[in-house]
């Protein structure tokens, strides 16, 4: 069974938000909410600056606190690619998962359940990339099986140095940012 993850190239990302818009239309994300977003991190003093731009979302952690804390089992690690998903019918909207996520990746959908990035599981099952990956004008995403030594994502991570977000949280995130 695959273990899906992403490598995102911070060198080519221009922060255009196409990933955010594509996710919104693909997944019919309701007005006022987004499953992904752009983070800008500028350090230094003008004109000697460094800036990292990142497309962020649920990290589909290997050690997901949102799953551990869920009282109903709605939040779960799915059989399919070990993607972290929420079973809408089983979710009681208690927001424990929202509080537990160090990445602030979740929100409560107006229909009452906790919602977030699904890695576009419905597309991946059809052999497509997640919509954010497929739309990116600068091709800064690589998506695939982190356990497959021949996958593009594994190779991307071997070829460059990369960092995940908040490694100290112990969540073992599966999204890596190429330096």
């Amino acid at each position: 069974m695959a273990r899906y993850g992403m490598a995102i190239d911070t060198r080519t990302c221009v922060g255009c938000m196409d990933c955010v818009v594509a996710c919104k239309t693909e997944n019919r994300v309701p007005e006022g909410f987004n499953r992904d977003w752009i983070a800008y991190e500028a350090v230094g003093r003008f004109p000697t600056l460094h800036m990292e731009i990142r497309s962020e979302r649920c990290n589909h952690c290997d050690n997901p606190p949102c799953v551990t804390c869920c009282p109903t089992g709605a939040s779960h690690v799915d059989q399919f690619g070990r993607i972290v998903l929420v079973t809408h019918e089983a979710c009681i909207g208690c927001k424990a998962c929202l509080a537990s996520c160090p990445y602030d990746a979740r929100f409560v959908h107006p229909d009452g359940y906790a919602d977030k990035c699904t890695f576009c599981a419905h597309r991946v099952k059809d052999g497509l990339d997640p919509s954010c990956v497929a739309v990116c004008p600068t091709h800064c995403f690589t998506f695939g099986d982190l356990d497959d030594p021949n996958s593009a994502v594994t190779k991307a991570l071997e070829s460059r140095t990369a960092h995940p977000l908040l490694p100290a949280a112990g969540t073992r995130p599966r999204i890596f940012y190429l330096d």
Partner: protein, 732 residues
């Protein structure tokens, strides 16, 4: 503004059009939920078309689920989008579902002092316009009606206006945008840069951006190729007063003082020439007047440029050498919005000359030679000839203008000289935001007998109109066929993917019906747009049915670089690359560009600069519910140290007051290290005042409102707009 206006600022009042049903019931579940059609098809349809959120014309595929528009993706077969739209194109769904769209034709029932609009039928609206146009023609001649039109959709209205007898058709894309750039390159190479720009970014090994903020400025193909060039390790050099996204990708970031780009360009050329680093063979073979040009460069040492630009001589030399190292695959990007300081044609010419020194014109990694498919026009009767000529450039006072000058038409409308202009029609352009100094635009509007606005949304310009005609969005209409001019030949088709939700009509229908009312039926021998397209494509030996099915038809591959067999041709004064321009000399202008120092901001004020956001196009997308959500208001950027000194904290609301006392709407302050201390920056297109744009009205500030001054380019009439200064004041 009130004291100026015969027509008070007109708000298309909710009370008078409240009877119209709202589009969908979309609140809360807006995204990707198009309006259902009564008899829509069931299942998933994938319909190819091309985008119109900006004017890049990216090939797209619309996904329609059970008759509702779900999402729009890039067409993988399209050379512009290569299967990936930009965020605006991806968010194009919002243009269709925007519940603030114009829904039916409106006529202002003008009781003096009252602003009353009525919904009317198309027959009444067009009949009214035709009657007014005939009256203007009888009294002043057909030249007295002008059309301001932006984009491919204006094709048919232009045709109607030409058939009516007016030569006065202009777009702000020339005198308010890329005009100086195209004239500067035309004077140097004999050809324009064009749109899409003929830049071979993807093969560039060294890319130089001067104020050009690719990534924020989201012309899709260019940003894709920028990413490609970065991934391949291209050297990136960025000169910008602001640490832009592109600057964050650069090996060399040059925090240049605004208005001094020409000094930097001259110094770079000085280094290339004095150090002998330029492409000598290319210059010897293709150049004219190099010796005179080189002599003119003598004073422009890096040491001379340092106090002007703030860029050290070491960095100027190092970057010039970098450019030489990678030539001819070094691209000094010509930019797009180039109307900055009024000497813009000469600055653009300097960019052209720098490229010429590097030998990049016609070479891989520099500029390709664009190609296109030959699609013959529809066989129309000839247009009537005007003996008055065009109104915008009397006596050729701007001798190098390549296109009509919008602000020239505006001036003629105000003065009545060289002849009166009494009617304006606008198509897909919001002149209140596009032209500098809105007071002049308002003054011109007051001299009119007729103002017709054709648009999708109720813009500020629509607020001033006598008649407002609601157009179908690009997702709901055919437009003229598009034989793109690009590095590979292809033709693309825009076709309806969903019906218009209300009484909107496509521009071709509007133009044709208006022509009929004007007695110009003979200019519209075709009955439907399909018939028109069929004729054009058949004449080109292509199949309309195939184009409808695929969205794109490719032409045979052609060479686009000199080393692929393109013959170097330079239709300039000399027939070569004009390092020294006799055309300029003969008209009394500098044959080689010279630097003029711009005025300094007064004490306590900042130069106002503006640019683009990747999620908006001009002022025409702030109402789009999806794009609005991505960026609902703009911010004014100010250097963080300066803001601290002024006691203004990041994120608070401020107002800008310009040198003429004009005060902006309130706008959030972005106190940041990413900008020089002497300027302020905003994204253009915000601060709407049109009350029917409910999502956008009052959100952020409008740079256009603060651009009360402009410096006209004496070569081609462009309006340099970066010549305004603002003070930043705390909002209580």
């Amino acid at each position: 503004m009130d004291s100026l206006s015969r027509r008070r600022f007109l708000r298309i009042s909710a009370a008078t059009i409240g009877a119209t049903a709202a589009a969908g019931g979309l609140a809360g579940h807006l995204a990707g939920q198009g309006t259902a059609t009564a008899s829509g098809p069931s299942g998933l349809q994938k319909i190819p078309t091309f985008c119109d959120i900006c004017f890049w014309k990216c090939g797209a595929i619309a996904y329609v689920q059970d008759g509702r528009l779900w999402k729009i993706e890039g067409n993988p077969d399209d050379p512009l989008s290569r299967g990936r739209l930009c965020p605006r194109g991806t968010g194009g769904v919002g243009a269709h579902v925007d519940d603030d769209r114009l829904k039916a034709p409106l006529i202002r029932r003008k009781q003096r002092g009252e602003d009353v609009w009525a919904h009317v039928t198309w027959d009444e609206a067009l009949g009214h316009i035709a009657e007014k146009m005939q009256a203007i023609k009888a009294r002043y001649g057909p030249e007295a009606v002008a059309l301001f039109s932006h984009g491919l959709g204006g094709t048919f209205l232009k045709h109607t206006l030409k058939a009516y007898g007016s030569p006065n058709i202009a777009a702000p894309s020339f005198a308010q945008c890329r005009g100086p750039r195209d004239v500067g390159f035309h004077l140097t190479f004999g050809e324009e840069v064009g749109s899409p720009e003929r830049t071979d970014i993807r093969n560039s090994r060294c890319l130089v951006l001067i104020g050009s903020h690719l990534g924020e400025n989201m012309h899709n193909t260019q940003v894709q190729e920028f990413g490609e060039a970065i991934a391949k390790g291209a050297r990136v050099i960025v000169a910008d007063p602001r640490f832009s996204v592109a600057a964050s990708k650069a090996h060399h970031y040059l925090p240049i003082k605004p208005g001094t780009d020409l000094a930097l360009l001259l110094a770079w050329m000085h280094v290339l020439v004095t150090e002998g680093l330029y492409d000598k063979e290319y210059v010897a073979q293709h150049g004219f007047g190099f010796e005179a040009f080189a002599a003119e460069l003598t004073p422009y040492t890096p040491e001379w440029a340092y106090p002007e630009t703030g860029i050290t001589p070491e960095v100027i030399r190092e970057t010039a050498r970098d450019m030489a190292r990678y030539r001819p695959a070094t691209l000094v990007h010509p930019g797009r919005h180039a109307t900055w300081y009024g000497d813009d044609t000469q600055r653009s010419r300097a960019i052209a000359l720098l490229n010429a020194l590097l030998g990049s014109w016609g070479r891989k990694g520099g500029f390709y030679t664009p190609v296109s498919m030959d699609i013959p026009g529809y066989p129309y009767p000839p247009y009537p000839k005007s003996d008055k000529g065009k109104v915008d450039n009397p006596g050729g006072r701007y001798p190098f203008a390549l296109e009509s000058i919008t602000t020239g038409i505006r001036e003629a409308t105000i003065t009545g000289k060289p002849y009166p202009i009494k009617g304006w029609m606008t198509y897909a352009t919001n002149l209140m935001m596009a032209l500098p100094n809105e007071a002049e635009t308002i003054k011109a509007i007051q001299a009119l007998d007729l103002l017709v606005v054709v648009d999708v949304i109720p813009t500020e310009m629509a607020g001033w109109a006598d008649v407002v005609l609601p157009e179908s969005t690009y997702l709901e209409r055919y437009d003229d066929v598009n034989p793109e001019v690009f590095r590979e030949p292809f033709v693309s088709l825009r076709q309806p993917v969903v019906p218009s939700p209300h009484d909107q009509k496509p521009n071709w229908w509007i133009a044709r019906e208006l022509a009929k009312k004007l007695g110009l039926e003979s200019y519209y021998p075709w009955k439907t747009i399909e018939e028109y397209l069929e004729v054009r494509l058949t004449r080109a030996g292509l199949s309309f049915a195939e184009l409808k099915q695929k969205g794109i038809i490719h032409g045979p591959k052609q060479p686009v670089f000199y080393d692929e067999g393109v013959a170097p041709e330079f239709p300039t004064a000399s027939g070569k690359i004009d390092f020294y321009s006799t055309a300029l000399r003969d008209k009394g202008f500098d044959p080689v560009p010279k630097f003029t120092r711009p005025a300094e901001p007064p004490e306590g004020m900042f130069r106002l600069l503006f640019g683009r956001s990747p999620v908006h196009s001009f002022g025409r997308t702030q109402s789009n519910p999806i794009l609005n959500e991505m960026m609902a208001e703009n911010e004014v950027w100010l250097n963080a140290d300066v803001a601290a000194r002024l006691g203004l904290e990041d994120g608070r609301y401020v107002r800008l007051r310009n040198q003429d006392g004009v005060v902006s709407n309130r706008v959030r302050l972005k106190a940041t290290q990413r900008i020089r201390p002497d300027c302020a920056y905003m994204v253009h297109g915000f601060g709407h005042t049109a009350i029917r744009l409910r999502r956008a009205v009052g959100k952020g500030a409008s740079d256009a409102q603060l651009v009360t001054r402009y410096q006209t380019d004496p070569l081609m009439g462009g309006t340099g707009m970066n010549v305004n200064f603002v003070a930043v004041e705390a909002e209580a």
